[in-house]
Symmetry: C2
Subunit: 307 residues, 2 copies
Amino acid sequence: MYVNDIISGACQPNNEPKILKENASTAWVDANNVLGATASHFAMDIAIKKAQETGVGWVTVKGSNHNGIAGFWAKKAADKGLIGMAFTNTSPLLAPTRSKKAALGTNPLSVVAPASKGESFYLDMATTAVAVGKIEMQCRKGEPLPLGWAQGPDGKITQDAELAFKTSCLMPLGGGENTSGYKGFGLSAVVDIFSGILSGSNYGHHIRSWSHTGSGGPANLGHCFVAVNPGSFAPGFEDRMAESIQHWRQLEPTDPNLPVMAPGDKEKEAAKETDANGTVSYVKQQIESSAELAKRLKVKPMVVKFN
Amino acid sequence: MYVNDIISGACQPNNEPKILKENASTAWVDANNVLGATASHFAMDIAIKKAQETGVGWVTVKGSNHNGIAGFWAKKAADKGLIGMAFTNTSPLLAPTRSKKAALGTNPLSVVAPASKGESFYLDMATTAVAVGKIEMQCRKGEPLPLGWAQGPDGKITQDAELAFKTSCLMPLGGGENTSGYKGFGLSAVVDIFSGILSGSNYGHHIRSWSHTGSGGPANLGHCFVAVNPGSFAPGFEDRMAESIQHWRQLEPTDPNLPVMAPGDKEKEAAKETDANGTVSYVKQQIESSAELAKRLKVKPMVVKFN
């Protein structure tokens, strides 16, 4: 999808992002339609610098594109001893509570905080109950959806995975109204306020839908990056953070086979596995489509090691 | 409960909050065990001033007490044209995903943003699926709980309102693991990081339980107040905010009798009613207990207008 956007001219990877307005703790950035990752490195580096100087850095970006894993950007700040936050708006997929149709994106948010004892707090979450990928997985497994993941075309909760995948109308975190789905709607809106409404990018229902066809013109997505220096507050932040994380893990589990995990534990386990394997694991279909893409673009294909 | 804490000496309302550490955009405040509302006015005023100077103000508070409605503090900043945020940690009631017992509070967060056309964005939410009050209401109505609100003493989801009320172990926003309750757990943890872990107050499982007995010693709660100046970013924030709010309201509803609401619409309707009545409405039991309290404290009782 990135490549299609570049080929169609919807994304201009060779442009340069630039600062439009700056204050002691803030910057407003125009990504100039570069890749989301380029803009995000640029903007988070500014947030980090400002947090080191004033205690907080708050940077918003307009004119950007899909920027990958929210947690990656938040972690950039945490690697410097700061609390990092990343927000981005995305194409409409989330139906506000009571609405038949989508008006906001999966709008992820991430908060990553440093901790002592080799720990860190790592939260990276869509503000929908689940991402579309999880519905696709239920389709493949031929299993129904849990209540509260997605709506059918009539706006009602559906457990039909195929129908949900076709409708592409996700419910906010919390699911239906009686389980407080309006809170997830509110959080998705907050992500849009920080990313889109503050930055002057496209926002909410104004964002194009994104597809493999590469049509729809520039995305003009908005992001927001925040860094906060724990050193500006009570000493010992990293120790208290580590103590919390370790406390959660040792809580008595409801099911003895399912230990309590701290936010990020699952991701860290996967990272360890990847490090041990010396490579990211892909399913066959992904390897094939990557090889095809390399051929189409006349670039060196990804080196594949079969297990 | 406030009065009991004052009588027992757990809260010292005549102390003065003070700034312990300050940076261009941050302040670390010791509430000195005053009422939460006193500390919150003090701290949010600092956040507002810093946001006007540097674009962002980020203030954390330790040594505080229950500070009432989170949205009230966030709105203080929005009334000055800023985006206001308020966070506080609370006594343990939320069971992390897979845990049999509580380890975090209902930990509310609030984001309030100014908008043109008489609008504003107002989100004030606990990071549990629901607050304890909602379970109490189901008890009174004799109705079962929706799935995902609360756990029984065995750690499993319960729909038994009486059992849930007695157990007092709430599920995070999102409910069980298969509906992404770990996201609500993560959000509750973020509120604790901002409020407690940053400020050096009590945090997570270290916070006392709070009861009408007034026992348990000082609460030493933590809060966090943030103000962000939209004027530091793209011009026209208030118009885009208003357009979003109005767009959500006119979305086609799934049930024609249940129109889509923007975050805060319900609260604004209640406020209008209160203004029209010239008074807050109380149930009989509340009026009686207030009269009893006035008698016990030898203060003038609340003036009551019966309808």
